[in-house]
């Protein structure tokens, strides 16, 4: 499914899309979610925060679905919109989900989940990222994506980027076995490699080795000429294990947890399409790694659907129903077991449509609760989901949000547009000179993924329209270095988690770093430039808060700004200072 609208992003974000925002039925998934959350504890209503304000919702959902904050004008328009709350919010969700920025957000989230901030060793990061972006743009179902990644050996250049999951773990068998369990099934079986798990009764040694048996025949193959690494696979070899505690021996075929063993077909032993050799990557007739892709994503493997439901829930709600996200077992049950089952089943029944699923979560009251606690002193268990939880901005969200707030992004986007337009104009001029050609003749190059804007249907059109997707892709390229800087500064170790800690070097980067300071220098288009043109200090306060925190200031915040400006000897310096303060505020650092 490809949902791209050939109109400018701002319009996508702001114009209500007719027909999309159908009112949800009373017994839809969001209502069922809320019922289960609210019935879980008797005194829920006492603790629960009310629904968040429109401003809080706008910022929250824009970050969660498009990896950035809304622009000042989008904020104003949303706040001014008098449509009833539920409808207005549902429409916003739908607009965000069809914007190209949704694919950007999913690219980042999937990368974090799958690669856990590992450095790029064998597969260039760009190739992997564009694979993920494409998948997210198509809204490729999670089971399909998981299957692609789990079977890929990297031998075919077309699909090679998918092999990054294995190849950038250097195909260390203990690591990839463990990570398949953790990342695709939410179960960390590491300890079960030497013995049945001592504390987690449900993790058995045979589970670990059953999983390992899928991958045990695969090996890292280095092409002698190109030195390129990929996976070869043998057509023989079995997995046996011994308990480190009592010497019990076991032997297993590939197997997912307690599901049936997958027995090799008769006569497949030592049967090759390509026999493994020094210069030949082994390809068996029957591949156990292919079976892994099938078995992990299979209907019977409930852990697969529960894991992704839990991870997407955590991305939206700030905390998993199972925490840590990779430690699901009977001794560590979900906070809301019935809910997790419901979510997993619904996601499965909807063909692992992640976009639909995130949209449903965003519609819940649970998602829309304010992060302002009713009673600051009350100890509220985070796992009740009675209060909107803080989500630290991911490094990528942090970068985009900072660029959006300072107005740096607006100038980048406008120069990217100009460049694309001038390129397109040149191409048009060139085409006009050339003899007429049928559009398809002789061209084996298909047009790029983004559909042509309607206006270009007439070749003689003088006006040039740049598709949103093309523009956003140009913007992506222009800011790639900045994203990388933020990832280097702010990424913490490892995969998707909901904890947070901040370091002194990060603070120094924010306080003294040249990059953010550069974006604070007034230009004709950026925020500080806009602010310095405003004479009324009330307007400055308004613009500051709308532009950075996506909400109007309270009366006392307005006065704070007015006083600050009044006390300053240099007004333009004071404006930069105020901008800096709001950018570094905790309110900006978190999605709240």
């Amino acid at each position: 499914m490809r949902l791209l609208l050939p109109i400018a992003l701002a319009l996508v974000l702001l114009k209500p899309v007719a027909g999309v925002a159908a009112e949800v039925p009373d017994n839809g998934l969001p209502q069922q979610v809320d019922k289960l959350i609210e019935a879980a504890v008797p005194d829920f209503a006492e603790h629960a925060s009310p629904l968040c304000s429109d401003a809080e919702f706008l910022r929250r959902v824009t970050l969660d679905l498009t990896a950035t904050i809304p622009s000042a004008s989008a904020t104003r328009r949303f706040l001014a919109d008098t449509t009833p709350t539920a409808t207005k919010r549902a429409r916003l969700i739908d607009r965000l989900l069809i914007s190209p920025a949704y694919a950007r957000r999913m690219q980042y989230l999937l990368d974090w989940i799958l690669m856990e901030r590992r450095s790029s060793e064998n597969i260039p990061s760009v190739a992997w990222q564009s694979y993920l972006r494409q998948a997210a743009t198509e809204n490729r179902p999670w089971d399909q994506l998981a299957h692609e990644i789990l079977v890929e050996g990297g031998g075919d250049s077309k699909t090679r980027p998918r092999a990054r999951f294995y190849l950038d773990r250097e195909f260390d068998l203990t690591v990839v076995t463990r990570d398949v369990g953790r990342i695709f099934m939410g179960k960390d079986l590491e300890c079960a490699q030497c013995h049945n798990h001592p504390v987690v009764d449900a993790y058995l040694q045979r589970h670990y080795y059953g999983l390992k048996a899928f991958l045990d025949r695969s090996y890292l193959f280095t092409d002698p000429k190109s030195k390129q690494k990929s996976l070869g696979e043998k057509a023989e070899g079995d997995v046996t294990f011994t308990s480190a505690f009592d010497d019990t021996k076991g032997k297993t075929s590939p197997r997912i947890l307690d599901l049936a063993e997958i027995i090799d077909p008769d006569g497949s032993n030592k049967q090759y399409l390509t026999k493994p050799g020094k210069s030949a990557r082994g390809v068996p007739r029957y591949s156990r790694r292919k079976q892994l892709g099938i078995a992990v994503t299979a209907e019977q493997n409930r852990a697969f659907r529960l894991n992704i439901a839990n991870r997407l829930w955590a991305a939206m709600m700030g905390r998993g129903l199972v925490e840590p996200l990779d430690l699901a077992h009977v001794g560590n049950p979900p906070s809301h077991p019935e809910l997790l089952d419901l979510l997993g089943d619904q996601l499965h029944d909807h063909g692992y449509d992640m976009k639909w699923f995130l949209g449903q979560l965003a519609r819940t009251r649970t998602y829309q609760r304010s992060s302002l606690t009713r009673d600051a002193s009350a100890k509220i268990a985070l796992k009740q989901f009675a209060v909107g939880l803080l989500k630290p901005l991911s490094p990528e969200q942090y970068a985009w949000a900072t660029m959006e707030a300072t107005g740096m992004l607006a100038s980048t986007r406008s120069s990217a547009r100009k460049k694309l337009e001038s390129e397109a104009a040149k191409a048009q001029a060139k085409q006009a000179k050339m003899p007429k050609k049928t559009p398809q003749a002789g061209s084996d190059k298909k047009p790029k993924a983004d559909p042509k804007p309607d206006k270009t249907d007439t070749p003689s059109a003088v006006s040039i329209t740049i598709s949103t997707a093309a523009l956003e892709s140009a913007v992506d390229k222009a800011v790639a270095g900045h994203i990388k800087t933020f990832v280097t500064q702010f990424a913490s170790d490892g995969g998707q988690k909901t904890s947070f800690s901040a370091t002194a070097p990060q603070a120094l980067f924010l306080v003294n770093g040249a990059l953010v300071r550069e974006w604070l220098k007034p230009t004709t288009t950026n925020l500080t430039g806009r602010l310095s043109k405003l004479n009324d200090p009330t307007a400055v306060a308004e613009e500051l808060y709308i532009g950075i925190l996506n909400r109007p200031p309270t009366a006392s915040e307005r006065n704070e700004v007015i006083d600050y400006l009044a006390a300053a000897s240099d007004r333009s310096e004071a404006i930069i200072e105020l901008t800096w303060v709001l950018l570094l505020s905790a309110e900006f650092r978190f999605n709240h």
């Binding site: 170790d493 947070f500 800690s501 002194a504 070097p505 003294n512 905790a586 309110e587 709240h592």
Partner: protein, 418 residues
């Protein structure tokens, strides 16, 4: 079967009950926490870590075997402790061994740089646990410490997430030698007044936001990062200016000399844990020439630092650790190198809480295995903490879970504890 990745994972340490009823174990832990808190009030204790990166040869340092099959060309020399001999490559250290002790029976059962380093730092064979430096910082750092708790002076460096599940304020802060750290200096365009004004306003905003979402630990951590940054900024003088010429003559004008001088400065100015890394001990070829050169640099410089700490009276309250990720093979390879060897090697330590002049453990005649008092990274971890007066058998508490500070299957080396 493969058993190369051990399994002292954090999950092992979590009681199942801890998961089910988050309060249950917190009770146990809260009994121990006040003791720890009380301990640290008593007296500011410090840690100096000198990390010999790549794996120093025990045979060319703390456990020489001259005249044996794998002994190599260097002699052993007597030290200031009667009966204790160390390699002739450490003549300055030899005169100061009455301040230090040696552990000679370390067996890590790994020859991997990565695994050996983590075992020595975390006291666990695997899993994600805080480094000894982060743990020490957490329990030793005074509330109003003038510097971040765990500072690492190194010319190269991996990205370590040393605090694991502890708060980021206990994470290691890397300093790339005695130059001013990245982003430490206020941009020229920002006046001191402007910085003060805007910082005051920022604090006010952040106080209002504090505790949002019921997650005060998030906002606290964010606010603490600025406080640490400010501490560093306030002491930029520590990184500026040429050190005293006499000091440079004593410590040496090479990077390690300058890094050790910075370490002294940091310790003198309220650093809690200061680590200095001396790179280049991974001598797969030309082991003897390299050790002659490397240890020559280490020996003199380290001893000047030790003298200074001793003269100023700080040594009594500073735990000194000289360690590596492993030692080097007794067997000498065809390139006159020694390879990775976690099986039977040594470290040296001294200062706060350590009985000086001791030798604990021994290796056999050829140094091919531990023959007496075998210990590993887990035992050492407990020993360091106990020497600092931290109860390593107590628990870290985290959001209702509690994690033993040291590996419960290991114990401190009692005979080393003063």
């Amino acid at each position: 079967m493969q058993r190369d990745h051990g399994c002292h994972r954090i999950d092992h340490e979590f009681s199942r009950r801890g998961f089910l009823a988050s309060g249950a174990l917190a009770g146990v832990a809260s009994l121990s926490s006040p003791t720890v808190a009380h301990e640290l009030q008593k007296k500011q204790k410090r840690v100096l870590q000198v990390y010999l990166q790549g794996g120093v040869s025990q045979l060319e340092s703390w456990d020489p075997k001259p005249g044996t099959r794998y002994g190599g060309p260097f002699r052993a020399i007597p030290t200031s402790v009667p009966g204790m001999h160390i390699s002739e490559l450490l003549p300055h250290s030899a005169q100061r061994m009455h301040l230090m002790s040696i552990v000679r029976g370390i067996n890590l059962k790994t020859n991997s740089h990565h695994d050996g380093r983590l075992f020595m730092e975390m006291g666990r064979r695997a899993g994600k646990f805080p480094y000894i430096g982060s743990v020490a910082a957490k329990y030793l750092m005074p509330e109003n410490a003038p510097l971040p708790g765990y500072l690492h002076v190194t010319t190269r460096g991996l990205t370590d997430f040393t605090n694991a599940f502890l708060d980021a304020r206990y994470g290691q802060l890397k300093l790339a030698g005695p130059q001013v750290p990245a982003n430490l200096i206020r941009p020229k365009a920002v006046t001191a007044d402007a910085a003060r004004r805007s910082r005051t306003l920022l604090k006010r905003l952040n106080t209002r936001f504090s505790g949002r979402g019921g997650q005060k630990s998030f906002t606290d951590s964010y606010n603490a990062s600025f406080e640490m940054a400010e501490k560093l900024m306030a002491r930029r003088d520590l990184f500026e200016g040429e050190p005293d010429g006499k000091d440079l003559d004593r410590y040496g004008r090479h990077p390690f000399g300058r890094n050790c001088l910075l370490a002294r400065t940091l310790l003198e100015n309220g650093g809690t844990v200061v680590k200095v890394t001396h790179h280049g001990y991974d001598t797969h070829a030309e082991n003897f020439n390299f050790h002659l050169e490397q240890l020559g640099e280490f020996d003199k410089t380290f001893c000047m630092l030790l003298d200074d700490l001793n003269d100023s009276g700080m040594l009594d309250s500073t735990l000194v650790m000289i360690y590596s990720e492993f030692g080097r093979t007794p067997k000498i390879n065809v390139r006159y190198g020694r390879d990775h060897w976690g099986t039977a090697w040594s470290i040296a330590l001294g200062g706060q809480g350590i009985t000086p002049g001791a030798i604990v453990g021994a290796t056999n005649k050829d140094g091919t295995e531990v023959s007496e008092r075998e210990v590993d990274g887990g035992h050492l971890f407990h020993t360091y903490l106990q020497a600092l007066g931290i109860d390593s058998t107590a628990y870290h508490t985290l959001d209702g879970r509690s994690v033993p500070i040291g590996d419960p299957t290991r114990q401190p080396i009692q005979e080393l504890l003063a």
